[in-house]
């Protein structure tokens, strides 16, 4: 039976939850496939996450390896393949708690960067798990800035080998997943030297552990980098190379090759490398960032209708905490953002698919725009979602702090996404470079990609809204965002020009404007997100049942952004002080409206209890009972703590009373 406080929320839903779920999945067929995959995984005890919160790092790692091995068997049994429709739901069902993710990157990098011969040799070995791969790029001293890597690979023409070395401590490979304990091979990135000349960073396949007994190969020092904030299941590793020799054929050579006599030959375009990064950034958003945010919203919102605290009206029962305006103001904007970013993900995916088609026709025109979008949105979405999950955590008060709520592990995992695959500040500045370039081009009347044509039309304007209801018009708020983004880009461009004209060197001028440049990039992405949300709602005309609630969420997402960033909209008088008061009023009016549908809106995400793995967020709402039962399972309650015999007993028995 369901807790009556949750049951009553579901009775008053203004829309069909199942309809919304199907629409989010992109069709009833997808919903069916997803549920079947989730069911198959969750009913298999090997994949259980029941004891996850009580396990040590060693136990988590072992479980992740066991699951990864079992998954191969499972896929075979179920007839799932890497190209099948089920594949994308497997990872979601496992909630990421599985080893060999870097093995996949190993495979992907060989397929993308290897010659046909290399692919023919390594890919079958890897897909049969005859070897386990990793991907060693980041070093102790270098991350996002690849040119700075210090590992060296020197060509020795007498033996036809490369000699790999870690010349100093900061050059040690550091962080690669699966490398600390599991991997037998890795793709290591190193500066290539031929006859004393440096040719830049290149990838090399290096064996690091024996295929027989898993011991380290000669010249290799490798191990685990120690405990982290999360990712206990992953053996992020270090790797030190001392005179390690690999055959000439182990340099991945789709685009360049070292010939037997030491001649360096380059062919083809390396632009495709950017495309790999773009694809990784887009694909991580859905599984690693948006899903966890939706889970956090589900947990926090369900708990907020079960938890009662204090009284709203004298004499009545204590109120559900979701009935407090301040609680609504914490959680509902995060819910709206989860939807907004879910739609942005679709948008980016479409952009990416179109780009891919063009690239296959050897047309690279879309690359800069794709690269700018994927960088900017990776930064904006990861940052926004990380803070959203933290808000959910803190909105659950003390119980949110218990690992059993599920929220701390969601948080510690999502926050790593702000750093991996490109540090966010650096990514925002890459987007800014694109925006400034387009702005200059547009001002000079040259053609620019359609997504940025708005930059050409910067002029002083005023918002036409007359009353608070006007701010529920997508045209009004989308235009406000557009104006704000265009203003920030154009004023930063002007500032850059001023500095350069006054004699400041270009790179100095750039560094002096980076704070504003990052803000301009965020504004641009925020504008696109609002516009895309509004257009998504527009297209829902055939689905009247869900269009209305999606419209409310879109309004909330847009107005929350204006409310919490008021200065940027007021700055040049685009909005007046009186209009800002209207925005605030409309924004606060939306909270109780969405409040009514809050539980159905998270139910529609359709997470099973097992996948939430939360004592606070389960579907039936029996929060306290579950919290109590789960706590009993804690190892701390299984036996008398050794601390009692060793320390407490002597302490309690008069060792001190003489003092």
């Amino acid at each position: 039976s369901v807790n009556p406080d949750l049951a009553s929320e579901r009775q008053t839903a203004s829309f069909s939850v199942e309809k919304l779920t199907v629409w989010l999945d992109g069709g009833v067929e997808n919903t069916r496939t997803r549920r079947a995959v989730v069911e198959a995984i969750e009913s298999d005890p090997v994949f259980s996450r029941e004891n996850q919160y009580f396990q040590s790092q060693n136990e988590r790692y072992e479980a992740a390896v066991r699951k990864a091995v079992h998954l191969q068997k499972k896929m075979h049994e179920m007839g799932w393949t890497e190209n099948g429709p089920e594949y994308k739901y497997i990872y979601r069902a496992l909630a990421g708690d599985v080893a060999f993710l870097l093995h996949r990157i190993f495979v992907r990098s060989i397929s993308m960067l290897g010659s046909d011969k290399q692919i023919a040799k390594w890919i079958p070995l890897a897909s049969q798990y005859q070897l386990i791969g990793s991907y060693a790029q980041t070093e102790l001293g270098h991350g996002t800035y690849l040119q700075g890597l210090e590992t060296t690979a020197v060509f020795d023409s007498t033996t036809q080998e490369f000699i790999l070395n870690t010349p100093k401590i900061s050059a040690m490979k550091w962080w690669p997943g699966d490398m600390g304990r599991s991997a037998t091979h890795t793709v290591a990135f190193a500066q290539l030297y031929i006859q004393g000349k440096c040719y830049g960073v290149h990838p090399f396949i290096v064996q690091i552990r024996s295929l027989r007994d898993h011991s380290l190969c000669p010249g290799i020092t490798a191990g685990d980098i120690g405990p982290k904030m999360s990712f206990e299941h992953a053996d992020n590793g270090f790797l030190l190379l001392q005179g390690v020799r690999v055959p000439r054929e182990n340099m991945l050579s789709k685009f360049c090759e070292v010939q037997p006599d030491g001649t360096y030959v380059r062919w083809g375009s390396q632009k495709i490398n950017y495309f790999t990064m773009t694809s990784v950034r887009i694909s991580l958003l859905s599984d690693e960032v948006i899903m966890p945010t939706m889970k956090a919203c589900t947990i926090a919102i369900r708990y907020s209708v079960v938890r009662r605290q204090s009284k709203l009206k004298p004499g009545e029962q204590e109120a559900k905490i979701l009935d407090y305006q301040t609680q609504q103001e914490k959680l509902l904007p995060q819910l709206a953002a989860a939807y907004a970013f879910y739609f942005i993900n679709d948008y980016l995916q479409e952009l990416f698919d179109n780009g891919y088609k063009e690239i296959q026709k050897k047309n690279f025109d879309m690359l800069p725009e794709l690269h700018a979008f994927s960088s900017g949105f990776k930064a904006v979405v990861t940052q926004h979602c990380t803070s959203a999950v933290e808000i959910c955590l803190r909105a659950c008060g003390g119980h949110g702090y218990s690992l059993l709520s599920g929220l701390p592990s969601l948080y510690t995992k999502i926050l790593a996404s702000c750093i991996y695959e490109g540090e966010n500040t650096i990514l925002l500045l890459q987007t800014a470079r694109f925006l400034i370039k387009c702005f200059m081009a547009a001002s000079a009347g040259q053609p620019v990609p359609p997504s940025v044509t708005y930059l050409a039309a910067v002029k002083p304007r005023r918002c036409p809204a007359k009353n608070k209801l006007d701010f529920l018009s997508p045209d009004i708020y989308t235009e406000a965002y557009q104006h704000m983004a265009a203003r920030l880009v154009s004023s930063t461009a002007a500032k850059l020009q001023d500095l350069i004209q006054s004699g400041v060197k270009k790179h100095d001028a750039w560094n002096q404007c980076t704070v504003q440049l990052a803000q301009a990039s965020k504004a641009h992405c925020h504008y696109i997100a609002v516009k895309n949300f509004a257009e998504t709602v527009e297209k829902l005309q055939t689905q009247a049942g869900i269009q209305e609630i999606m419209k409310h969420l879109c309004d909330l997402f847009a107005l929350h952004g204006i409310f919490s960033n008021a200065g940027a909209f007021l700055h040049d008088g685009y909005l007046s002080g009186a209009q800002m008061d209207m925005v605030t009023a409309s924004y606060l009016d939306l909270l109780p409206i969405i409040r009514k549908d809050a539980v159905p809106l998270v139910d529609a995400f359709d997470f099973t209890d097992r996948s939430l793995n939360s004592a606070l967020g389960s579907y039936d709402g029996h929060v306290y009972q579950r919290l109590y039962e789960w706590a009993q399972k804690s190892p701390t309650n299984k036996q008398m703590s050794p601390a009692y015999e060793k320390y407490l007993k002597p302490l309690l028995h008069n060792k001190l009373s003489k003092l």
Partner: protein
């Protein structure tokens, strides 16, 4: 070893270039050179004591961490008495060095159980309980929070029903939600608890009262019949603490176990009301002032780590062809870290102010003058929330500013974060705290509009009634805001607070005029009310920081503190431009100027950044961070640290034989 003793060249250069003496600033933070000397003396007592050494806690399981903490706490109590350390602040230092800034299992015993006995037990009860507790025959905790109830105390459900026949109280946990949940030291450590329960006598509920409840058998430490007690399981942090649960089933305790200094139950069950007890206000003010200080310290630790590491880490290029620069030279990195550094200093001074004011007022309590207490109570509620929210977010920014390595536990920042973040919830949930301050602000505003004067930090509201804020009036005043003058910025913050308090009060009135109930009107205005409180607290912080400047006698130190104060105030404006623009406290042009000044200040502060964190004077052992080491030898020590990881205990991990090898042979 000789190489390890050397200081990283970048850090050496940074320190040589500082424009002020770091010790002088340390003395200001400690409250005088003598306090600094004494702090270091106590620090040395702990750090040179082999009994307090142990393996890096990052590599221990939760159970092992608890065990280490218990071991150290027992020693700590003995040694404190051996050394004769009795001053509360000195005890705090000692404890903080022993446990390296982490909580410990006896916290509740020392910090709540013993003091509650002192303030709420009768002399007879003190005879029975205090000395055994002082000698740790009795280890106690303070069990207030329940699974279903936290900040809202009246909702607690545990009952204590008086039975005159046996002269006992019968304690019960009638529902799952009434199970005591969270108290520190309850799960495994304590054998007694002070339990808060609804008192029933002669068929009537008399509200919450405190009872001394034995929970474990002396000698065997087994739970007593009728008591179910245990650990609540793993948490985000606080691994050293056995936060516990407690369920009582018809559990009887003698009548004399109710704390009866104030309220009493007589043998026949007659209830005697307490005389009013304003002192509980005092305790809350005191604990919240500790949290404000803790916000400052935790943020200072995170800043120390992030700024030192940013001076050691080199990345990318600023100028084509030149070596990779220190990441602290990037404007975006300065923009992340320096406002937080300024905030840490601001909060230090706010914490010191509350502590001093509290001591001054509690001096008055014996003379019976408690008139300032309500304002201080209202102010500390808001400041507790304001500073802990800001520090919480700031610690995370520091971590992220350290890139990937910040995410490793060797950075120390994950630990600072998980230890600090619950302070947003405990001792009063932050949103509820903000609304308490708002209640006081609205009350003051109402007083002013009805013609009375208010005093203290809210006296700016008096100006509202004299010269009603009209847009044009305020606009006329804008020219007088000088953005490079802290005193003038205090006025700007004051105007913002006044406007937001007035707006919230008017919105509240408008809701009331719609014939909403008082509570509903309050709820429908609460987002505005929280904003008003935040603006008020922000003003208080800017004001106190500015006031501190004139107390600094050394010119070089005053100069650098003035820069930090300006950065704090201007950055706050740039992050809240909407509030200042909307009613014309500042113009568009001034906001542009503010943004420009912020960037100029970043460059001005840059040469002193490392010296400014050195002044916080955290010992490496206390800091617990490889990235933040004083000598800056980061990378070699990260490698040394990683080698000790539990996954590295054996060269080939057991999972190879168990899982990997069988798979490889099968496929």
């Amino acid at each position: 070893a000789a190489a390890m003793a050397m200081m990283n060249a970048d850090l050496r250069r940074e320190r040589a270039a500082a424009t002020f003496q770091t010790e002088l600033l340390t003395h200001i933070l400690d409250g005088g050179a003598e306090r600094t000397r004494r702090r270091k003396e106590i620090e040395a007592l702990v750090l040179n004591d082999p009994d307090f050494q142990h393996e890096d806690l990052n590599f221990l399981s939760r159970s092992e961490r608890y065990e280490q903490a218990i071991r150290k706490s027992s020693l700590m109590v003995m040694k404190l008495r051996e050394y004769g350390i009795a001053d509360p602040e000195e005890i705090y230092w000692f404890k903080s060095f022993v446990h390296r800034g982490r909580p410990e299992p006896l916290d509740l015993h020392l910090g709540m159980f013993l003091p509650t006995l002192l303030t709420q037990a009768t002399p007879e009860q003190q005879d029975r309980f205090f000395m055994p507790a002082w000698n740790l025959d009795i280890i106690g905790t303070y069990a207030q929070t329940e699974m279903g109830h936290g900040t809202h105390l009246r909702g607690l459900e545990t009952t204590a029903t008086y039975d005159p026949a046996t002269q006992e109280f019968i304690l019960n946990s009638p529902t799952v939600t009434s199970i005591k949940w969270w108290p520190g030291g309850l799960g495994k450590t304590s054998n007694h608890a002070i339990v808060l329960a609804q008192l029933y006598t002669q068929g009537q509920c008399k509200g919450l009262h405190a009872f001394i409840v034995p929970i474990r058998q002396l000698g065997t430490h087994e739970p007593l019949p009728g008591i179910t007690v245990g650990d609540i399981g793993p948490k985000f942090g606080f691994d050293e603490i056995d936060n516990g649960y407690l369920k009582m089933d018809n559990y009887r305790i003698p009548r004399e176990n109710m704390l009866m200094k104030y309220a009493q139950v007589e043998p026949d069950g007659t209830y005697v009301k307490p005389v009013s007890d304003k002192l509980t206000y005092g305790t809350m003010v005191f604990i919240r002032s500790l949290i404000v200080g803790d916000s400052a310290r935790s943020l200072s630790r995170a800043c120390t780590i992030a700024i030192r590491y940013s001076a050691v880490r080199h990345q990318s290029e600023l100028k084509p062809g030149e070596p990779e620069p220190q990441i602290l030279d990037y404007q975006t990195q300065q923009y992340k870290l320096f406002p937080l550094l300024a905030t840490a200093y601001a909060f230090h001074f706010v914490g010191a102010y509350i502590k001093n004011t509290y001591h001054r007022i509690s001096g008055d309590i014996s003379d019976g003058d408690l008139s300032e207490l309500p304002e201080l109570h209202a102010l500390t509620a808001g400041l507790k929330a304001f500073t802990s929210w800001t520090a919480n977010a700031g610690i995370e920014e520091c971590r992220m500013a350290c890139g990937g390595h910040g995410y490793s536990r060797c950075s120390g920042i994950p630990d600072i974060y998980v230890t600090f973040t619950p302070s947003c919830t405990y001792e009063g949930e932050n949103t509820v705290m903000m609304l308490q301050t708002a209640r006081f602000l609205v009350k003051s505003y109402t007083q002013v509009t009805s013609g009375q004067q208010v005093t203290g930090m809210v006296s700016y509201l008096n100006d509202l009634s004299r010269q009603r804020i009209q847009p044009q009036h305020v606009a006329a005043r804008t020219v007088t805001v000088r953005i490079n003058d802290p005193a003038s910025l205090v006025e700007a913050y004051k105007a913002r607070a006044a406007r937001l308090v007035e707006a919230a009060a008017k919105n509240l009135q408008a809701e009331l005029n719609h014939r909403k109930s008082k509570e509903e009107a309050w709820n429908r205005t609460s987002v505005d009310l929280v904003r008003a409180s935040e603006a008020h607290c922000h003003y208080v912080v800017v004001k106190l920081f500015t006031a501190k400047l004139s107390e600094v006698s050394n010119a070089a130190v005053r100069a650098v503190l003035t820069e930090l104060c300006l950065l704090y105030a201007l950055y706050g404006i740039s992050k809240n431009t909407g509030d200042f623009l909307q009613v014309g406290i500042l113009t568009d042009a001034q906001i542009t100027q503010v943004n420009q000044s912020v960037k100029e200040l970043l460059a001005i502060i840059r040469p002193n950044a490392v010296a400014l964190v050195d002044s916080f004077d955290f010992h490496d052992v206390h800091l617990g961070s490889v990235l933040g080491r004083y000598d800056g030898n980061v990378y070699e020590n990260m490698f040394e640290w990683a080698k000790k990881s539990p996954l590295n205990k054996t060269e080939v991990h057991q999972s190879f034989h168990k899982h990997l090898k069988p798979m490889q042979s099968k496929l």
